[in-house]
Symmetry: C2
């Protein structure tokens, strides 16, 4: 629907896994391509992308014990870490969320390595799901 | 990417919530439309849809204590219940998954009320996520 496309889409799902080599087998069995992994040093995470329609799944593996992904898995086990929703105007979204009392993890919008903008919404305000809002560069 | 569209897409995310009335506020603050709720008697669930690009989020609320959603929330709290991936040929996907040793929740493909086909993949084979494969009617 045009309204859906205009207002947002699921940018990606971040799934915390112990091993990308193990987790990719399931997606490959579905005939999906698992793209070359990249390492995000700042977050101590290795990520592999699985394109899915206008979205993608990111398989996230910790590169060391101090990684947020390693801590997540030791506490909750493997599984969904966050849902990223692309929005056209993240500053407007943040202003509206603050007005409505939605709890954010950061007080203001952050800029990622590739120039995209992002902010995390606290799970307590989003049905128990860690939601990342993103706006492409 | 055309390959992504041809091979699959994220059909929907099912999120277990205590109250749709409460959970919808966040999506509405993002300017997203939350469509009228429907009740699935067989599953003792009320669902509200949030269209997002070529996918959607389903907010799932239990209608009584025996609902799988009520049990999920009492055990794990609110949060992502399942990820549904649309595939073009679910029987071929099941055959390939069995060949590769992927563990399924049901032994064979099920038919839903609307005529669509579905099968659940066990979280132990899919990075800790309950994955539903669907093929539209």
């Amino acid at each position: 629907m045009s309204a859906g496309s205009a207002n947002g889409k699921i940018d990606h799902l971040g799934i915390a896994v112990k091993s990308i080599a193990e987790a990719r087998k399931f997606y490959e069995a579905l005939g999906l391509s698992v793209e070359a992994t990249e390492t995000v040093e700042a977050e101590r995470v290795r990520a592999a992308m699985v394109p899915l329609g206008d979205s993608r799944i990111e398989l996230l593996e910790a590169t060391d014990e101090a990684s947020v992904i390693a801590k997540f898995i030791s506490k909750r086990g493997e599984g969904l870490h966050h849902v990223a929703i692309a929005v056209p105007d993240i500053e407007a979204a943040v202003a509206e969320m603050k007005r409505k009392g939605v709890r954010l993890v950061q007080d203001r919008v952050q800029r990622g390595a590739g120039g995209h903008l992002y902010v995390f919404v606290h799970p307590s305000s989003a049905g128990g799901v860690l939601v990342e809002l993103v706006q492409s560069a």
